[in-house]
Symmetry: C3
Amino acid sequence: MADGATPRLVDHHCHGLVQRDLADDEFTALLTEAAVASAGAFDSRIGLAVRRWCAPVLDLPAHVPADEYLARRTELGFAEVDARFMTAAGLSALCVDTGYVPEPISTPESLATAIDGSAYEIARLEQVAEDLHGKVDAAGFADAFQAALRQRTERAVGVKSIAAYRVGLDLDPARPSAGDVVGAAWRWLSGGKRIADPVLQRFLIWCAVDRGLPIQFHAGLGDSDVDMKSGDPLLLMPLLRAVEPTGVPVMLLHNYPFHRHAGYLAQVFGNVHVDVGLATHNLGDRSRVLIEETLELAPFGKFLFSSDAFGLSELYYLAAVLFRRGVAAVLEAGVSGGSWSAADADRLARMVGSENAVRVYGLGDAGFRHTA
Amino acid sequence: MADGATPRLVDHHCHGLVQRDLADDEFTALLTEAAVASAGAFDSRIGLAVRRWCAPVLDLPAHVPADEYLARRTELGFAEVDARFMTAAGLSALCVDTGYVPEPISTPESLATAIDGSAYEIARLEQVAEDLHGKVDAAGFADAFQAALRQRTERAVGVKSIAAYRVGLDLDPARPSAGDVVGAAWRWLSGGKRIADPVLQRFLIWCAVDRGLPIQFHAGLGDSDVDMKSGDPLLLMPLLRAVEPTGVPVMLLHNYPFHRHAGYLAQVFGNVHVDVGLATHNLGDRSRVLIEETLELAPFGKFLFSSDAFGLSELYYLAAVLFRRGVAAVLEAGVSGGSWSAADADRLARMVGSENAVRVYGLGDAGFRHTA
Amino acid sequence: MADGATPRLVDHHCHGLVQRDLADDEFTALLTEAAVASAGAFDSRIGLAVRRWCAPVLDLPAHVPADEYLARRTELGFAEVDARFMTAAGLSALCVDTGYVPEPISTPESLATAIDGSAYEIARLEQVAEDLHGKVDAAGFADAFQAALRQRTERAVGVKSIAAYRVGLDLDPARPSAGDVVGAAWRWLSGGKRIADPVLQRFLIWCAVDRGLPIQFHAGLGDSDVDMKSGDPLLLMPLLRAVEPTGVPVMLLHNYPFHRHAGYLAQVFGNVHVDVGLATHNLGDRSRVLIEETLELAPFGKFLFSSDAFGLSELYYLAAVLFRRGVAAVLEAGVSGGSWSAADADRLARMVGSENAVRVYGLGDAGFRHTA
């Protein structure tokens, strides 16, 4: 739990909370990346972590059986459960990707209230573009998208690309020509709303580069819809070479099981930052190793905290607890082994827990939303 | 060694024992995946593990020099050596891939006797098909294969695909058309017996899906004949998406060094299970880490024990000892670190050691062969 | 530091020292693989390792702030700094890749003096070929290269390929035809000096095989110019299968984050050896895990020490300290855990520290240069 002695974290990538009570299989389905709910999810590291860490927040003993946990959750109701976990997470600010809304979820404003802190918006590029489907013609798409992006990011602190889910990260680094964009827009507008076209994905990304805000890229871990081979962040190298001179920050999200690849990119590209969100809570007590492996090459000044939590307030809390404990364990082992000083450990913990995010996203500047 | 307090394991993927005494270089050649025997194999983790764990079973002190170990093995003779290791392994059942027989090896029946337990057959798809070479024409191949598969799996509990060795795992997920199968069969029947054709491999796999038994896939670790890049289990994702709705269990074998990839697949696909056979004994005392990394995402209910032992009885024993110790170390660390309870640890150990295999393969049902 | 009780290491792959005092940002730029110098480099494992291990060699306390370290370095001057680190590294011999000279750097002879030991040359294939640009025609290139290679390797102990940087490691294993070489040479000679042609790279490699000296391949870790995906050593498998029968040693350098892949190749191919140079010092106190993971499959007789140091004498020293400590930690853990005997640990440490290199490169034979 957060107390005066524990610095609060900035969660630089998350989503909203489901606003209703959940059936047991709905809870289980939201717990992992599996498409189908399975009671077996409790017999994996994340399920064991829920029983270990989340149960006490609901006044249950640690390691309580899963069915008792679910019964208590239902008994308390989602509003009370969410209030407890969001407070216990010890967060000072969140950057909320507002582009994934399969059902009504909590807004950044309400999340800010829940953590007694601040929330900022991350605009999802694909959503901004897809909102134009049926409203523009091919010739007008490019201008319309750029205008929409400007408007949608007036108060946003960053944007997000899910190219990994749509066409993979093996992207041609060149900015597409105006003619190519018109042609691709024409094909897209002739079909369904969902964008999964390499030319359009590249166009969206280059518009984001022009916009100048940090660009988050989904990489690695996701559900079974993602082609994981195409989500290896190393595939982004040509694009990263092209973007590096602009100085626009690139934020590689999740990354597991390619987190060492991401750490390498964070070392060699001046503008690349990494996290291990989503993986942190999925790996439970192995999150320490995950953090340690990512920080083999990634400079501490390029490593950030995120939960990538969606739906369940347990996931914000678990990610925060496991990140804090993992970072502390890594840094304390270095102190006790003589690899760095205790003062270094304190300083590095602050960097990865909040200072890097505040610096890269300019939190506190325009776009700030404080509700506390 | 197995005693009343140590639950016996089910080895869900192994082969048979060579039925003769071996020259020293034949022993070394069977010890690792190297094509050429090398005395240097003893100076690797598996060789050190033989000297540590196997020597005492042959009445030698632990860490005995390799030449003394080999001399003692010769002195005792293969029958006595095999009897000792197969008993010491502490196995209750084996699932035996009968499709790799470079020389006469022990049958499932004799293995069952050797462990004082049960043995079941796994039919190798490629072998079933290749047995038809020269006996069918292209037009008749599809029906002939389906009939042969039905016959060969009357008492089998699963089938095995070595697509990774033949064409790689980057398979088109679609069931091939009847015409495509005839064409591919025609090309195959015009040449040598060995099948290495993507259309035929897909046909074999879809026939196996129709048959409904668990399908084992070679993935990752193998000898230098395998194209390791093409053996990454992530390449199977399109096929796994196509097979998941059938509910047919998919068993990803070996997986190292892609075991984290396999663990991810076991989380997101309801029917995917994983093991780290072959790697377990090759990695010696690093097998604990291997198991721990695989179980980062893989649910405990989807993780199984296998040895993938071939030829040497030491490999059944080593795999069992190292798996048992590795799982125990992982689970005990969780208990002492407060990540789960001792009761959980006991339960999870039983699942991965035998219960998962019994459930998935339906061991004890028709096809059961008990000789004890 | 090296003393009578600490065996000296053979560094089988390194470069020379910059021969001048460096500005702070020049030092930082040479410290990591980042293209742009960043003060943040000190807040990564390698920077923390400099403050921990290098500071005392310059009479500073461990963990001294980075700016004090840099000031002291400047105060002492490069000649004194280099003398201290090269002595403290405890090296008996170096194999020096003389093919990367962006500015005047120390020669193998002067390095031999600096370590009070021996230095040997590794000839870079691409440099030997590129020196012929403008001096031969396409028809004469093949013979001219073979003659140049013979001459340049008269006293060299090995050659180096940077195919990973130029065309990637996914090489057609076939020896190119004479006609293909003429065609490729014609295209190359019509343009710039830099070779990045798959036919020419293959020709260079096969000439090296004919020459019979150990061939070093860059694999894995490098700067942002390398296409890391194409540097996975598994891509070399077809070529390794083709080269194995010749018995010519292949040395896979660096390998991180694909070091487990390299370990696999070292197990299954009789002529393949591996190291984790460059990564060792970049990973700081994580180098122990790096070494341990590589030695999961790699036989101890196939694992070598290298620094891949360039420019800064700190890198020779750090690599040696971290390798020695990492190997010792791995081997001592095995002894205390009962996995092998203390005598085995001593023997294996000698193999990886120097004996493997002496054997594979035939150090002490013709080509030997001793200056001490």
